[in-house]
């Protein structure tokens, strides 16, 4: 308990930073991942190719490498200067989007083809079919894997600690230098994550209940 209480000035702001990082990257990944999924099912071959290449490349790249690119290589391009927090958000979003994309696409596959055909028969455009008929059902059927991906994102955010973002993943190194017991500190960090994941699990359960599709 002492380790936590003596270092509340670390645990508080650092965990807040983690939550901040998670929320922004989660929204970003959900939006960008869904767009990617739409690309991958679009009737235009070029769009499909772009989506496939993106997912293949990013899913095969370790997240630390994505971080290292945005923190060490990207500034050399001298395009737009970004601070380290933004770099972390971008890295996490770029990485997680590929996974969200595949989850959403698997959701799209659960929607019977007949629905899209019916939409087309009614004269709906591709965008309308996707946005009004397919995606709402698709998202409902993939709530558990979607939340799992977000939980992975939450834990992945600790990598930012090594790239100049003061978040929960960096707590251990601070504690070690302060001379407190780091194993105890790690237990507290773990507990913090259990609480955060519990919140996400709760969201998952309530969404599942509310959104269950009767088929």
């Amino acid at each position: 308990m002492d380790v936590l209480l003596d270092n509340l000035d670390l645990f508080g702001p650092f965990f807040l930073r983690t939550i901040e990082l998670f929320l922004i990257a989660a929204v970003g990944s959900l939006v960008f991942g869904t767009i990617l999924a739409m690309l991958r099912v679009s009737p235009v071959p070029v769009f499909r190719a772009v989506g496939t290449v993106y997912v293949t490349v990013v899913r095969n790249t370790p997240l630390t490498l994505v971080f290292a690119f945005f923190v060490f290589a990207y500034p050399l391009l001298e395009i737009v200067k970004i601070d380290y927090f933004t770099a972390a958000v971008v890295s996490l979003t770029v990485y997680t989007s590929a996974f969200i994309c595949e989850v959403v696409r698997s959701g799209i596959n659960t929607v019977p083809v007949g629905q899209a055909e019916a939409g087309r028969a009614l004269g709906l455009t591709f965008g309308q079919i996707l946005g009004e008929v397919v995606l709402p059902q698709a998202l409902r059927s993939v709530v558990p894997p979607l939340i799992s991906t977000l939980i992975a994102l939450l834990k992945n955010s600790t990598i930012a600690g090594g790239f100049s973002v003061a978040e929960a993943g960096a707590i251990r190194q601070y504690i070690s230098e302060r001379g407190d017991n780091q194993l105890v500190a790690l237990l507290w960090v773990a507990l913090g994550f259990i609480i955060l994941v519990a919140v996400l699990s709760f969201v998952q359960r309530s969404l599942e209940k509310r959104w269950s599709v009767a088929r």
């Binding site: 370790p62 690119f69 050399l76 190194q173 070690s176 302060r178």
Partner: protein
């Protein structure tokens, strides 16, 4: 042009991840014959029939016939692993060798293990290393988990800046400047606590060498940590980097030991004292860190 810089960056990033701290490690200052003061490393006489009754760590060392020493592998002049030969070299390494000789262990029976700062206490407590020599500052809080022999070196927090930068002359001139150091390290915590620069200007990476890269590309203005470490980097890149030279803290480096092994601690204190008295310490310094041209004051052993 941009494509090329990107390629270089990607390559650097890739190396950085695969090489784990070996990135940009040049020859140690002691390696090349730069200038007049090229001192040879001293040799240490291996003591015979050493017996330390009541020291569990020493009993273990004697039983195994080898000693495992925790060190750093990425600090030029202090503790560095030569990427081509795989040999460790530097001031800390020599101190570790000297101590091993004093404990009756032949040089070929010393096993060096790289232990990062954040894992030191655990490695010592778990017995993964018998003792630790790697820029380990003696503090009262750390004494609650490990014990320290020494200090064997007296360092102080300083600043490394670009050679042409005249705007930074000491800690009080850091306001508005980007300051880099290793994540969570004591020097960067001091900068934050004392408000030497704005929180948004504090940059933290896993390795000092990453800060040096950012310093050279002008993304940060200063790298702060102990002067001993900074001198190593300045000696490597004399044309572009310099140490400000106004230390603003006391960092006595000790040899980290098992907390309960007072017998071994006393023995190592004796060995350090002997090396300070007979000139071995000075020889070690001259052949390693002393190559940077800076002088050092001898530390005073604190026995507790």
């Amino acid at each position: 042009m941009r494509i090329r810089t990107l390629a270089v960056g990607l390559l650097a990033g890739g190396l950085l991840l695969t090489a784990c701290g070996k990135e940009g490690t040049p020859a140690a200052p002691g390696g090349d014959a730069s200038g007049a003061n090229t001192a040879a490393l001293p040799t240490y006489t291996v003591a015979q029939n050493v017996d330390l009754a009541g020291s569990p760590v020493f009993t273990k060392i004697k039983g195994a016939g080898t000693v495992t020493v925790g060190v750093k592998d990425d600090q030029p002049g202090l503790g560095q692993k030569d990427p081509t030969t795989g040999k460790f070299e530097g001031f800390d390494i020599e101190i570790a060798r000297m101590v091993a000789a004093g404990l009756g262990i032949a040089p070929d029976k010393i096993k060096f293990t790289t232990v990062d700062s954040a894992a030191r206490e655990q490695a010592i407590a778990n017995g993964q290393v018998d003792y630790y020599v790697g820029t380990y500052t003696i503090t009262d809080k750390r004494k609650a988990q490990v014990s320290f022999a020494g200090p064997y070196f007296q360092a102080g927090q300083d600043l490394l800046v670009r050679k042409d930068d005249t705007s930074i002359t000491g800690p009080e001139t850091l306001k508005g400047k980007k300051v880099c150091s290793v994540t969570g390290s004591t020097p960067i915590q001091r900068v934050r606590d004392q408000g030497l620069t704005e929180p948004s200007n504090i940059v933290e990476f896993q390795k000092y060498s990453q800060c040096v890269d950012k310093l050279l590309t002008k993304e940060v203005d200063a790298l702060t940590t102990d002067d001993a470490i900074l001198k190593g980097y300045a000696a490597q890149d004399k044309d572009n980097l310099k140490v400000v030279g106004k230390p603003f803290s006391q960092e006595p480096y000790g040899i980290g030991l098992n907390k309960d092994d007072k017998v071994l601690r006393t023995k190592i204190d004796d060995l350090l004292q002997a090396s300070l008295d007979d000139g071995t310490w000075q020889k070690i310094y001259d052949a390693t860190l002393g190559q940077s041209g800076a002088t050092a004051t001898k530390p005073t052993i604190q026995r507790y």
